[in-house]
Symmetry: C2
Subunit: 405 residues, 2 copies
């Protein structure tokens, strides 16, 4: 059972979490718990580090911010013991949760679950600090924002858990954002691959890396709300599972959107081999993540190269491209931050033609211009003007028959 | 260099501490730093634990409250690096600072200083979390309130430091509380034994255990203020050292007072062997610390037994004594919480007679009645009515010639 920051935001909620864990134990389950920092705590700690030095050392940053989770583990263990449940807190270094030394965005390398399994066999509940681990040199690491989901999935794999329940402030994964489409439906099941596409295109339910890990380790993940008082039954939340477990595959499982990208067009690039490699090479050197790419048909020996980058990366991308202006001799650089990426996602697409066409027709019917298209095996994404985001999402939700009855 | 909670209370003060450490490094010193939690942080964490469960597990309490120091180590390391000083944070478990498993009031067993010495030789500044350590089973321990002083002295001993500078919110040890006696003088030097008596009778400058440790390990401790901007010169603060280092020994180094005791009188105790053992035995069984004891001269085969206990222990003491009323057959139990203990302390007393008499005469001149007297080799303490506390301290300060010119 993993509880995020809003689920442990204050002492009352921590008591609620303890009661929920106790009910799961009383129902005969062996339970390990992973917790985040109390909502707001991490932001405060991050702000202190940044205020002292914008270029603060990542190892010290990890030392400071990892205390948020440590506090929650101790408090929840106290609340559990107060209810008569045998519990104890575990920090990343105590288990240990071994990570690499990429401080601030470390990757879990290995968790030795034997000691915890041994204690759980005796009825104890380990309360494990999410988000943190220990580098090879025994310094504290953190996994990056949202990393507690990854901690939970990795621990579930190490403990060979039947399931990893992620309690959060939403009650499952929806066909799209219910704030935009009131008719959005909660999905009972979703395939790892679909969840991965939805997570990465903007449905902020699970951290992308946690879904990758769940897919690789075949951990069954359930997303559900910590704000419902009743015990979850089997229909509760959304189960993220292997595609094979999903009997009725929809062509499209969900519609996602992201306003976090900016479009860049490099105009009149000479149309010769190696140019794309040069452009995307300098961007990669600057750690700029490029998402959608489209190259126009060449005319008069030159072409336009259009692509999207994260909004935060735009200044670095611009600088890198200006540096190579004379080298590759392009005409000009156009930027447009007012774009949105709309994606339709579904493993059913693999066996059904016409999914992309339905999208294009639905958008055309609303007179929404498509600027860039990119596709993968289970996803079609388009870039449109940001102002049409809601209109497009609603039109697509209806077009794919996702609206609740 | 050890900095307490008020010295690292916010980011500005942490920056000031960093600047002070840098000046010490620039002056050619090898420096290790010990820090407390930011003022208020520990209280918040303690309140959370108590609110969740008044009888919370001490191991989880330690897990929660030790985060306060962890945060400060990371922030100070960041501030130091921002000034170009090579620094890194060290938690108790990383060094490790090995303690016993008496959670909440653990004792330091051993610190391996080799790794830190090695790094300090290369110019690095270790920033060590005070107050915390690691139990044999690798769980986090804390040393009790004020434990960071003990951490600093223990680390100074492990590093074979020339001196342990304790930066605090006062600028040294005074002949008495300057809030009561404006003419109180700062002592340039004080002997370990004197400091120990002053600390334990109410001068809250250093934690008692830290002074014991300094005495045993012969660590030279300097108490000085972190709120003065100028660099401390050699006269700054108060040096706590071996008696032999003090050339001009005063008869009396200082006057201390404590209002934290209550007087108990057991009336008409049968005057026979074993009675005292019975009374103080049951009190010890209840963990009640007895301080001053006086037994009146016996008359009519019975005697009165008077002693003092900490105010917080009074209910437990009363209960224990009521339990044995029939067994030892005393007449009645009298309690008086409105008492104060006044102590004059000085190693010079060993070789000078008349010190106690000066005290008695000075108090008599002010018509202050002495209720109980107790003496040690370097201390005379009297119990008086609490309302005379200030009057008595002032009179004694003058009588022993301690007033500043």
């Amino acid at each position: 059972m993993k509880f995020g920051g809003t689920s442990v935001a204050d002492l009352d909620r921590i008591r609620n979490v303890a009661a929920r864990v106790k009910r799961a134990v009383d129902a005969g389950n062996q339970v390990a718990v992973v917790v985040s920092a109390m909502a707001g705590a991490t932001n405060q700690l991050v702000a202190w580090c940044q205020s002292l030095s914008p270029l603060h050392d990542a190892r010290e940053y990890d030392t400071v911010v990892s205390t948020g989770e440590q506090v929650t583990t101790g408090l929840l263990a106290i609340a559990l013991m107060d209810l008569g449940v045998e519990a104890r807190s575990w920090q990343g270094w105590q288990i240990p949760i071994r990570t690499d030394d990429a401080h601030g965005k470390a990757r879990i390398l290995q968790i030795d679950g034997d000691e915890l399994i041994h204690r759980m066999d005796k009825g104890h509940v380990p309360v494990v600090a999410g988000f943190q681990g220990m580098a090879p040199n025994r310094r504290i690491t953190t996994l990056g924002r949202g990393g507690s989901d990854t901690s939970a999935v990795a621990l579930a794999a190490a403990l060979k858990a039947e399931r990893c329940d992620i309690y959060t402030d939403v009650d499952g994964v929806y066909t799209t954002d219910p704030r935009i489409v009131p008719q959005a439906r909660k999905l009972a099941k979703i395939a790892y691959e679909e969840m991965l596409e939805l997570a990465s295109v903007g449905a902020k339910v699970l951290q992308t890396r946690s879904v990758e890990l769940a897919m690789n380790e075949r951990v069954r993940v359930r997303v559900l709300s910590s704000f419902k008082d009743a015990e979850p039954n089997d229909d509760e939340g959304t189960l993220v599972v292997d595609e094979d477990e999903i009997v009725e595959k929809e062509n499209v499982a969900g519609i996602a959107y992201s306003r976090d990208e900016s479009k860049i067009t490099v105009r009149h690039v000479p149309d010769r081999p190696g140019i794309a490699a040069t452009i995307f090479g300098v961007l990669a050197d600057q750690n700029v993540n490029v998402d959608m790419i489209v190259q126009n048909v060449s005319a008069d020996g030159s072409t336009d190269m259009t692509f999207t980058v994260g909004k935060a990366d735009l200044p670095r991308a611009r600088q890198a491209l200006q540096h190579i202006k004379s080298a590759i001799n392009y005409a000009e650089l156009l930027e447009d931050p007012n774009v949105a990426k709309i994606s339709v996602v579904g493993v059913g697409m693999r066996s059904h033609a016409g999914v992309a066409n339905t999208m294009f027709r639905a958008l055309a019917d609303k007179a929404i211009n498509i600027q860039v298209i990119s596709t993968s095996e289970i996803k079609v994404s388009v870039l449109i003007a940001a102002e049409y985001t809601e209109l497009a999402v609603r039109a697509l939700h209806t077009a794919y028959g996702l609206d609740a009855a």
